[in-house]
């Protein structure tokens, strides 16, 4: 039974995508997107820690298994996909290309949920490639020039990430004893693998790219604003988590891997602050959210780095828990942008209220979902330095998210009688409620912490002051100082602005070379030269 759930999680969206071959089904598929992730949600609730499902066709194994940290992320992600799917049905109701959108959506969904279940290298790589490449269709859906630029940059980076991972997997496989493709065998072989530094570097590059680790983050602030609202929600909430689960699955926590944990933690913390610093210079609320995702994923990666450095397997679950809040809350934020855009007058205030609550939750306001997420990872950021950095990051996040809220309200339609479509409102509200309450349920339900701890006075104050300080700073910044430099979306990407011209010049050279090579005398002498060269080479070997 649980095996069937695991199998249905990627297969139902796949089957729905296949069904889009029929034009009739394709036009109606948008209304059923809400159903596609439900097996994944059920699996997250029912199939945790169950026996793995192995499809062994003569040694070409496909293994699916659900470990507890993956289950948390799978459940939150599936919920986000489902609600964003419902939202998309309304949001893209009049889009003539919605059939194509549904296909991209379902394929990305299959991969996005698949990465949480895959238990062998081949299945994982397949799922990861699926989520990476199919998401291109989501980014370019609007068909604008900007969307195409974002799409191309996204695709180039995604393929580079795939290449890093393929190389890492091949090196891991070579280090694994026997023919096993199981991830756990590969990870067990990692600490003693001869190519260890290469493998870890490639894994960090491949997964860091997806998770938005600076400087590999450049695709996020381009892709998120360019995509339609529900697609941005899943890009930011669900798809970047493929990178997080990759790190969780492939880094050997609890093993001796000197130095790497510290490197990862430093990269993560740098990303956390970098995202805030660039984010507050942005005017488009969706871009601000993208930079906030960069920052939040930085915190998550830092947690994983600390877990690796400290040899603490248990902290991995806390990092996953922290990411769960981000899945739900960031998804809700993106959905809110679409709701606000169709909203005016007093209604706007009613929508901004839950958004404001989510903003404070991001900063870690106690009693909210974000507060409990921050509380859970408090022990990981132990010691004076890490504690201070953690609080400072909470301050920064608050500043950034208040900045988002202020930019968001400018987006309101300004027409008091306009009301957002109910098909947009209920998924947003459901997701917002899930973001505020869901982490609590997990926190208490899976024994991450206790109610007494969450309600202790010192803990409350430790959670409140960064939010208050952030609020003050953000309002001060807003009131007195918008003299921040205008940083283009994708910041360091400006360094590559001459790349197209350079590549084109290289291409011209190549074409000139080809003209030379295709001349008869050149080709004929190449043929004879090759014959002589081969004789010499063979002679030398003999």
């Amino acid at each position: 039974m649980t095996g069937m759930l695991l199998l249905a999680t990627p297969l139902l969206p796949m089957a729905m995508a296949m069904a889009c071959v029929s034009a009739t089904l394709r036009t109606r598929m948008m209304e059923w997107l809400v159903l596609a992730p439900l097996p994944g949600l059920a699996a997250a609730l029912l199939a945790v820690g169950g026996p793995p499902l192995v499809l062994d066709a003569d040694g070409a194994r496909f293994t699916l298994e659900l470990s507890p940290p993956a289950a948390m992320l799978l459940g939150a992600t599936a919920l986000l996909w489902s609600l964003a799917g419902a939202y998309a049905a309304t949001y893209l109701r009049d889009d003539p290309a919605k059939g194509r959108f549904a296909v991209s959506w379902l394929l990305t969904l299959a991969g996005s949920l698949g990465v949480f279940l895959a238990d062998d290298l081949a299945t994982f790589y397949l799922a990861f490639a699926l989520v990476s490449l199919a998401a291109y269709g989501l980014v370019v859906q609007d068909g604008t020039k900007r969307a195409h630029r974002a799409g191309v940059i996204y695709l180039v980076l995604a393929v580079l990430g795939e290449i890093c991972l393929l190389l890492a997997f091949a090196l891991l496989h070579a280090a694994t004893s026997g023919d096993s493709l199981a991830i756990r065998d590969a990870v067990a072989a990692l600490p003693t693998a001869p190519a260890r530094p290469w493998i870890v570097t490639l894994l960090i590059l491949g997964f860091g790219l997806k998770a938005g680790l600076v400087p590999l983050h450049v695709w996020l602030p381009l892709a998120h604003p360019a995509a339609p609202m529900p697609a941005s929600a899943v890009l930011s909430g669900a798809i970047v988590k493929a990178g997080i689960i990759g790190l969780i699955r492939f880094l050997p926590f609890g093993e001796n891997l000197p130095g790497w944990g510290e490197v990862l933690a430093a990269m993560g913390l740098f990303t956390a602050f970098y995202g805030v610093a660039i984010g507050i210079t942005q005017a488009n609320p969706k871009t601000v959210l993208a930079y906030s995702s960069v920052s939040q994923m930085g915190v998550t990666v830092a947690l994983l780095g600390l877990a690796l450095a400290g040899g603490q397997v248990g902290w991995v679950r806390l990092a996953a828990f922290y990411a769960v809040h981000h899945v739900l809350a960031k998804g809700a934020m993106f959905l809110a942008v679409g709701v606000v855009a169709g909203c005016g007058g007093t209604r706007l205030r009613w929508v901004l209220l839950p958004v404001g609550l989510l903003v404070l939750a991001f900063g870690g306001l106690p009693l909210t979902g974000g507060g409990v997420a921050k509380l859970a990872v408090k022990d990981v950021f132990a010691g004076p330095w890490l504690g201070a950095l953690s609080s400072l990051s909470a301050v920064g996040t608050t500043v950034l998210m208040v900045h988002f809220l202020l930019r968001l309200q400018l987006l309101g339609s300004g027409q008091p009688q306009e009301r957002p479509a109910p098909g947009l409102v209920w998924p947003f509200l459901t997701l917002a409620a899930a973001a505020l309450l869901g982490p609590w349920a997990l926190y208490l339900g899976t024994g991450i912490g206790s109610l007494e701890k969450a309600l202790g006075g010192a803990e409350l104050w430790a959670g409140v002051w960064p939010v208050l300080l952030g609020l003050v700073l953000a309002l001060g910044l807003h009131r007195w100082g918008w003299r921040l430099p205008a940083v283009p979306e994708g910041d360091v990407l400006v360094l590559t602005r001459r790349a197209p011209a350079l590549l084109s010049a290289c291409g011209d050279r190549l074409e000139r070379g080809e003209v030379v090579l295709r001349q008869w005398p050149v080709a004929a002498s190449a043929l004879l030269g090759l014959a002589v060269l081969l004789v010499l080479a063979m002679w030398q070997a003999a």
């Binding site: 070409a60 695709l155 795939e162 393929l166 091949a170 014959a531 081969l534 080479a537």
Partner: protein, 491 residues
């Protein structure tokens, strides 16, 4: 051990006789019936090649037929080992697909019975020559088969009679003749040295002395010219892009694989000691250059068929990475061998689908300029999907056959500590992704294009099936690839 006919060896005679008989029958029956005869023969050939593959797999050894009961060195033998069987099957599948695709275009109905007759007899001749290359066990017979192949392929290039395709065909012919000459010279040297040209016998006799090495080098260089390995590719883009789509498909998918197949025979069967030292590194180096250069040029092409043709230049390069990987340290690495053969098969299926798809797009739009491809996806959705699936296999993305092939080669590169070939594999994938993406994004832009001709869904379906086969290849259980290891002569 003398070679004797094995059980099931009789099948091999049929594999040679069937195309020839069908060709004669087509001549007698004329252009209107030629298509039907060819299709029937090809379907029978598909069954036959399945039977050969099953026979080899069941028996666990090569099928052998000594013609007239005379064992080599007196007589001539036909021999089907694992790689023969696999390529025989691939040839049949691609041929049947091409025949179904071309069936209505060359029906001979609208008073064009001559073009129809020429196309179908040439296709059958090409098929027969392919089978002869795959089954031949005598180096001189293989020379004859190779020449037959060139003479059947050359007129297919200029079937439409335009001046530019005629020029491309002659270019192809001249360069192929140059290659044949070198090969023949090598064969003569070998015959002088050993008194036999039978591959199985030679594999036990060859020494690494001067005449043998010169012979091997000459034969290899000649075969490389015919397979268009960089920098000997001058004839390929023009010939493959200029030919009618159905011809391009068989030329790119199958014909260039035949000389490659003989290089494999020469290096791994006749003289396994060749595959050590510097020589295989040279072959793989040219392969690497082909991958990078061909893919980058494909990225720059303005016309779809030229793009696909340059992609063939690049994909041939992958095949040659096999040499240092499968022959490393004297031991033949099973993974690299399987990976290389899988690359040959998956490229054959994917490239056939892509050339046929490009032909359909050109037919429907009246041109194949990439810049003006917008709306093709709405007009021919199945075809564009097929092109994308073929591209998936060329890029080496899972779960395609190309992925498994590149994964096996990559693993072999790591195991033998020749990581630089792994890097070439991967960067080739990136460039391939680039040109496949160019085609897909160009054809998906914009509203439905205006069609100048109606393309039947049946022909689109043929293209899609070939593309799907190239992807599904990757889902076959690894054990079934063991077929390509059967009957290898090297220890």
């Amino acid at each position: 051990m003398m070679l004797g006919t094995t059980p099931g060896g009789g099948l091999l005679a049929f594999a040679l006789a069937l195309p020839v008989l069908a060709m004669l029958l087509a001549f007698v029956a004329g252009g209107r019936q030629a298509g039907r005869i060819a299709l029937a023969a090809l379907l029978a050939g598909l069954v036959l090649s399945l039977a050969v593959a099953t026979g080899v797999l069941r028996g666990g050894e090569a099928l052998v037929l000594t013609l007239g009961g005379w064992a080599p060195p007196l007589g001539v033998a036909l021999r089907a080992d694992g790689i023969s069987a696999v390529m025989l099957l691939t040839t049949s599948v691609v041929m049947v697909g091409t025949a179904l695709f071309a069936f209505t275009s060359y029906s001979g109905d609208r008073g064009e019975s001559r073009a129809s007759l020429v196309f179908w007899t040439l296709l059958l001749g090409l098929w027969g020559a392919m089978n002869a290359v795959l089954l031949g066990n005598d180096l001189f017979n293989l020379y004859v088969a190779l020449e037959l192949l060139t003479f059947a392929a050359m007129p297919l290039v200029c079937l439409d009679g335009r001046a530019e395709t005629l020029a491309a065909a002659l270019r192809y012919l001249f360069f192929a003749l140059l290659g044949s000459l070198l090969y023949l010279l090598g064969v003569a040297l070998l015959y002088g040295a050993y008194g036999t040209l039978d591959i199985v016998l030679l594999s036990r006799l060859t020494r690494a002395d001067a005449p043998t090495l010169v012979a091997a080098a000459l034969m290899t260089a000649g075969l490389l010219a015919k397979t268009a390995l960089f920098p000997l590719h001058l004839w390929l883009p023009g010939a493959h892009a200029g030919a009618p789509a159905a011809a391009s498909a068989v030329l790119s998918a199958l014909v260039v694989k035949a000389p490659f197949f003989l290089v494999l025979r020469l290096w791994f069967d006749v003289m396994p000691e060749l595959a050590t030292g510097l020589a295989p590194q040279i072959l793989a180096g040219l392969g690497a250059l082909a991958i990078l250069f061909g893919s980058a040029l494909a990225l720059r092409q303005a016309r779809l068929k030229l793009l696909v043709a340059y992609s063939t230049v690049a994909q041939i390069g992958y095949l040659f990475l096999m040499f240092p990987l499968a022959g490393a340290a004297g031991a033949t690495l099973a993974g690299a061998w399987t990976g290389g053969m899988l690359q040959a098969v998956s490229h054959a299926l994917a490239k056939a689908a892509m050339f046929l798809g490009a032909g359909l797009i050109a037919e429907a739009l009246g041109h194949d300029r990439l810049r003006d491809l917008g709306g093709a996806a709405r007009l021919l959705p199945m075809t564009v999907v097929a092109f994308g699936l073929g591209g998936l296999s060329l890029m080496g993305l899972p779960p395609s056959g190309g992925f498994v092939a590149k994964w096996l080669l990559l693993n072999a590169a790591i195991e033998t500590q020749q990581w630089w070939w792994g890097l070439v594999l991967l960067s080739g994938g990136l460039l391939t992704g680039g040109y496949v993406f160019r085609v897909l994004s160009a054809s998906m832009a914009g509203p439905a294009a205006a069609a100048v001709a109606v393309v039947s869904p049946g022909r689109q379906a043929v293209v899609l099936v070939l593309a799907i086969l190239s992807v599904v290849l990757g889902l076959l259980p690894l054990a079934s690839f063991g077929l390509v290891q059967i009957g290898r002569l090297a220890p």
